[in-house]
Every structure is written in C-alpha cells, then in structure tokens.
Symmetry: C2
Subunit: 210 residues, 2 copies
DNA sequence: CACTTGGGTCAACGGTGTTGACATAAGCTC
DNA sequence: GAGCTTATGTCAACACCGTTGACCCAAGTG
C-alpha cells in the first residue's frame, strides 16, 4: 500500500540520490515498486507533490530549532538552516522558493520568524516588512546556490575553469578594475556570498532598530 | 540563412510571447521557418543557446546606462535595470542567474560594477566581495520574481487567494504574530520586496564605508 | 448476494532535447 | 570547368517527460 508520507519520503530520497532533475514520475513509481501513475491517486499532479515536498522540508528545517532570544543570532541560524536544507534537495527548493504552500509547516515558520522580529523590538508593520525581505533573501539565495550545485561535477569544474581562464587573461587596458582584482575575483566566485549577504542584511536591520 | 543573432532575437521574442516555458527547440525552429534541429548548427545544445540569450540580455541591460559618480544611486539604478530586464524574459533569467557566461557583455558588466565600488572608496578586496554579494542579490531576486510572474494569471490569482483565505482566518491563539499583522502580511506579499532589500543592502554597504 | 469504491496497472497522447544519416548548395583547388 | 570539401538545412528516430482514460480486482457495505 502506498501513502502520501511514503511517496514524499521516497521522492526526497530520489532527489538526494539522482540530483536535481532526477525526480520523474516514472522513476518515482519504480522506486516505490509500483506503476508511475499510481502516484496520481494521492497527488493531483506533480506540482501538488512538489508542494508537499516543500512543506515537509520546511518542517524538517524548523524541527531542531529553538529561539534563543537573541534575534540576530536566531535569524542567522535560521538562514543557515533553510539554506542548508534547500541545498540538500535542490529540485524541491525551486518550489519552496516560488510558491506559497499554505500548509501547516509553512504557517509555523512564518509565525516563528515574525515572532523573532517582534521580540527584537520591531513594530508589527516593520516585522512583516522585514520578514518578507528576510525570507525572500534566504529563499532566493537558496534557489540560486542549489541551481549552482545541481549540475554534474564536470559541468561545475568547467564553470570555475571559465572564470580562471577568461578572467585572469583579460587585457588590463580594457578592463582595469577586473585586472586589478582578478585573483581575488576568481577565488571569491568559488563560494557562495550567502553568509556575507546575510550579515550585511542583519547589520542593516540592526541599524534600523535604533 | 540562419545566424546566431537571428536565433537569439527570435528566442527572446518567443519567450516574451509564450512565457517562461514557451521556448522549445521545435517552436523555435517553426518561428525561424526552419527545422528545429537546424539550430544545432549554431549552438551545441539548448544550454549554450540560453547562455547566449543571457549575455544578450546583459548587454541590453547595460546599453542605456551611464554612471553618474554617485555610487549608491548608480547601484540602485543598475539593480532596477537588471531586475526589470530579467522580469521581461523569465526563462532566460534563470540562466543568467545560475551560470557564468564568460561572454563579452558579462565582462563589461563586471567591470562596470566593480568600477563603481572602487570609485566609492572600497579597497579592491572589498569591491570584489561586495560585487559578488550585490550581483548575487540582484540576480537571485530577479530569478525569484520572474518565477513568480511566469505562471498563468489564473495560477497567480489562486496564489494570492491562498494568502488571503488561509492567513486571514488563522486562530490568534496558535498564531498570535501572524494574526496581529495578517492584513499587513496579505498586502505585503503581493509585491516583491526587491527594492526594500536593495535599500537595506546599500545602507549596509554605506555603513561599512566609514 | 449484489454493488460501489479505492487503489494499482496498462496503453496511449502529445510534448521535450538530442543524434545520426542524408541531401543540397557554396566555395575552393587543380 | 571538373571534382572535391565544407557548410547548412531536413528527416526519422530515440529515449525520455507529465498526464489521461479505460480496465481490473480486492475490500467493504447494503
């Protein structure tokens, strides 16, 4: 017997295993030991399935989180958790990102984050505004970085090779600013600017608090 | 006779016309009045074509831009330009976002932005770091927002309806923070937090400059 | 017993990106 | 000009994809 939970778990395992694009209904059916179309008894279409995956991921993200009362630290932790979970499930991340699920785990997440901002001293209006910026920032970067990592290793290596070869050999006359920091640039582009951007964001919020 | 330029232009027109997912090789071929596979004489695969689209978009974005010397204003303008162009071409945006093209227009863009930061007084290392954060922020939000707008109108309306119905009717006992700002939340979620986040980002940069 | 209903299977439709063989026209060398 | 190479477009096919509708059978219910 299949079930929503079983399908969701199997889907997440498949994504983790076969990478971003590895989740197809046929593969899912095979992994479940059933026909591909059996899944349609539980989810109207693939989009609904992805929404369920998204909510499950949100739930897992917030499962091990307890607010400490220090709002900057809490938001930093949450940002890292969300980013991390989404990176582990790139394909589902694309959906968490773009659409609102309206499911229970999502509600709990919204409640938690706005609560942290209210506790920090922001007004309800500020808290809502900053919540929107915060969650969009984190999700947008998650989607960006998981798209970055979803390709094969070979593809990724070719990518950084492009950076190295193209950017390091540019004529300093035409591109003085690039030439000046070419080594820094190549080194910088290898890892995500996520943490740095979150720090900038948090410092901007803190400045708005006084 | 086909040509790279003709293919790129037609592709962009197709995307603008048929929406995000509207660009398939067969449709492209039809729009060109040729067989779908003829495109493969000019681009090794669809990914390469999308990279070319991306570079073309970058070029168009920077075409009408002249730095004023006021770095905050310039970055704000650029952010808006990039965001706007990407919103108009949702599918291509996803690619501009994730991958480095290494093509001429991209190089010019990198040079311009780092130049602005250097002119603002940042060190080469700072300029490179902040460039990376800035461009990632802008591209990540562009991808997010264009994914948001790419669905049908009906789908989008259903989305906001979800927000309205679900979030406004929540029990205040379980979700006090959401209940407190439910109206604000529903109103807020309708438009992108892009401008607000860019402002926060720029203010954080300015604070780092002293 | 008859009958509905939930849940799994099967074949099929129209779509996708991509490949390899084939045809034809252009341009170059002898 | 003849012959050959190279560029360019066409065609059929492959292996996928999400989704639908018909079918079938076991379980539960009147």
């Amino acid at each position: 017997m299949l079930s929503e939970d079983l399908i969701v778990d199997t889907s997440l395992r498949l994504i983790e295993l076969h990478g971003a694009e590895g989740l197809s209904m046929r593969r899912l059916g095979a992994a479940l030991g059933a026909d591909a179309t059996a899944v349609y008894r539980y989810f109207a279409n693939k989009h609904q399935l992805l929404l369920a995956l998204a909510d499950e991921l949100i739930g897992r993200t917030f499962a091990g989180f307890e607010p400490t009362g220090q709002w900057q630290r809490d938001l930093r932790t949450l940002a890292g958790l969300i980013h991390g979970v989404n990176l582990a499930h790139p394909r589902a991340a694309a959906v968490v990102t773009a659409r609102v699920t309206g499911r229970p785990h999502e509600l709990a997440a919204v409640e938690t984050i706005i609560g942290i901002l209210r506790g920090a001293g922001f007004t309800p209006a500020q808290a809502v505004r900053h919540y929107h910026c915060f969650i969009s920032l984190v999700l947008a970067f998650s989607a960006l970085d998981s798209a970055m990592c979803s390709g094969d290793k070979a593809e990724l290596a070719a990518e950084t090779a492009t950076w190295r070869e193209v950017y390091r050999e540019l004529p300093a006359g035409q591109y003085p600013n690039i030439a000046e920091g070419a080594d820094l640039l190549v080194a910088q582009m290898r890892h995500s600017p996520f943490e740095a951007t979150v720090e900038l964001f948090l410092s901007a919020l803190a400045a708005r608090l006084d």
